[in-house]
Amino acid sequence: MDKPFSFVFHKGPLHEIVHLAGVIDAQAEAHFEELQKKINGNAVVFDFSQVGRINSMGIALILRCLKRLASERKITVQLQGLNQMNAMLFKMSGVFLLAKEVR
């Protein structure tokens, strides 16, 4: 069964890392607002390896979050741990124009 969205924030020596987990949909909105407030450094990695499904509302939340971090706050954002499906959705919706994937 679907796991609801959650995240864990870590502050590393080189960059901050946010481990995302569960389904990313409209219900994740408040969590995305919260996680943006935790990011203070110049570089952050979003780890999607524990993320399940991301629907179109989830994509909108991710785009909104990345726009704020990358475009407005000039924070370098990288993405890792994407499965084939979510990488496909990110490519279709322009997520990779705001944050590069690292492997």
């Binding site: 069964m1 909105e29 499904r53 991301i54 509302m57 499906m85 496909m88 322009g94």
Partner: protein, 196 residues
């Protein structure tokens, strides 16, 4: 033999609007003995329905796992559309907040049909609103195809995902009565490079 994963949108059958015939989709997803039909009463039914379909597909290998992921997303988008995008006020605004759970009204109906033959999965969701228009469908697909700027507020992204992921995709609208959105997903070879 499995086909290589397709790279592009579905073959689309847009049945358009119909005022002079009763709702039904004969020919696009005909009834058969193994078609499963579910009345969906609440958004809280969604996780169990998605699990029901993905368990049917199974995760025997990477190809089945990818088909299951696509099926889960398509079902999610189709049900979100029926529960939140279809119900509109007379002014055309959404009636319900997508962040809140929702149970359908007594005059409302959301119907899911699916069938899986081991190679192809057919999915269809009907709502009793019939509020989507032909113009909106083409506009959503066009804007999401043409616009490269990653705009979070762009509308119609869910429909665009369906058009892109389904191998065959159809929309049939009876204005004010019913919208049916459906399509089929083919079991295909998963790509190893995680790219389109």
């Amino acid at each position: 033999m499995l086909e290589a994963e397709k790279h592009g949108p579905a073959t689309m059958v847009f049945v358009g609007t119909a005022n002079d015939v009763s709702p039904g989709l004969e020919g696009l997803f005909p009834d058969s003995a193994d078609t499963v039909v579910r009345q969906v009463m609440s958004t809280s039914d969604k996780p169990a329905l998605i699990e029901e379909v993905t368990l049917l597909i199974g995760e025997f290998d990477e190809d089945h796992a990818l088909l299951g992921q696509k099926a889960a997303l398509m079902l999610d988008e189709m049900l979100e559309n029926a529960f939140y995008a279809a119900p509109r006020t007379p002014e055309g605004k959404p009636r319900y907040d997508q962040r809140l759970p929702r149970t359908i009204g007594k005059d409302e109906q959301v119907l899911l049909r699916y069938r899986y033959d081991g190679i192809r999965l057919f999915l269809e969701v009907r709502d009793s609103w019939g509020s989507l228009t032909q113009g909106q469908v083409f506009s959503y697909l066009a804007v999401n195809t043409q616009e490269k700027e990653p705009d979070p507020e762009r509308t119609g992204r869910g429909l665009f995902f369906m058009w892109w992921m389904f191998d065959h995709f159809y929309v049939r609208i009876y204005p004010g009565q019913e919208t049916a959105i459906g399509g089929s997903l083919l079991l295909q070879k998963a790509r190893s490079d995680s790219k389109l």
